[in-house]
């Protein structure tokens, strides 16, 4: 395919690996910034950066993790420029709390999206990585460049925040649930969902 390239096999593999992670990059980006159009812009930016830095990628390590770090950095620098400011909705949590449960399963994906956007970006990211992306706490901590314990507490706090907003009896939950939700319990719940 690329006659003049010094290492066509490596190039081809990199491209193939990159293609494989695109769907995950898109899902992570959309969860982070909440907007499909911005999310896809971010992913393309991350792909360009990954391509330019491909010599830094160590074959045998996780392309998914590596590109997630690049995507995350792209997101953070955009967020610093306040590009996503319009997405944050301080009233959404209140609306969620005042709304009675309407559906049998008690879940509106729109509400969940709003609730996710009410979380701090650190907690949102933690939940996306561990809860949805299928990363271990260790992998998620490496991507978010924090300690494993920090990642665990972010996930636990994000979980409590969401339960407060999404639960059928949010107030009761806040009062009666034990303050510290065990990480094991969290992992069990997530594993149950992930292995479905």
């Amino acid at each position: 395919m690329s006659k003049s390239s010094p290492d066509p096999v490596a190039d081809f593999d990199f491209c193939k690996e990159l293609v494989k992670v695109i769907p995950h990059l898109r899902a992570f980006a959309r969860g982070l910034c909440g907007r499909p159009d911005f999310a896809d812009d971010l992913v393309q930016e991350a792909m360009l950066k990954a391509w330019a830095a491909q010599d830094n990628f160590q074959p045998g390590t996780s392309m998914k993790s590596w590109t997630f770090v690049i995507l995350r950095n792209a997101y953070l620098s955009e967020a610093r420029r306040n590009r996503f400011r319009g997405d944050y909705d301080p009233d959404a949590a209140e609306r969620l709390l005042s709304r009675p449960a309407e559906q049998e399963d008690g879940l509106h994906l729109g509400d969940l999206k709003s609730a996710m956007m009410c979380l701090s970006s650190e907690r949102r990211e933690a939940l996306l990585l561990v809860g949805a992306g299928g990363f271990s706490y260790e992998e998620a901590a490496a991507i978010a460049q924090c300690a494993v314990g920090t990642m665990k507490s972010r996930v636990a706090r994000a979980r409590r925040n969401l339960e407060g907003m999404m639960g059928p009896e949010p107030v009761e939950k806040f009062i009666h649930r034990p303050h510290a939700v065990t990480h094991g319990e969290m992992l069990d719940d997530l594993a149950k969902v992930a292995n479905r």
Partner: protein
């Protein structure tokens, strides 16, 4: 480790039969508790994420990949 286990078993052997129903009871009550606090949002979050993963990759991504591939050929 193995030695320790067998030692424990022999020491608690007498009460083992009486205790054997306890794990099951525990399991059942944990299950009930889980069902009560079933994290609907966790399932929804996974569904939300997976729905994006399952989407077809938009054309502009394919165009970008082709450009990148061409760029590497010119290197």
């Amino acid at each position: 480790m193995l030695a320790n286990n067998s030692l424990d078993n022999s020491q608690t052997g007498g009460s083992y039969a009486a205790m054997s129903s306890e794990p099951e009871m525990k399991k059942a009550s944990t299950k009930r508790k889980r069902e009560r606090s079933r994290p609907v949002w966790a399932e929804g979050l996974k569904r939300m994420y997976d729905s994006v993963v399952d989407e077809e990759i938009p054309d502009d991504f394919v165009v970008l990949l082709k450009k990148l591939d061409q760029a590497s050929e010119q290197k």
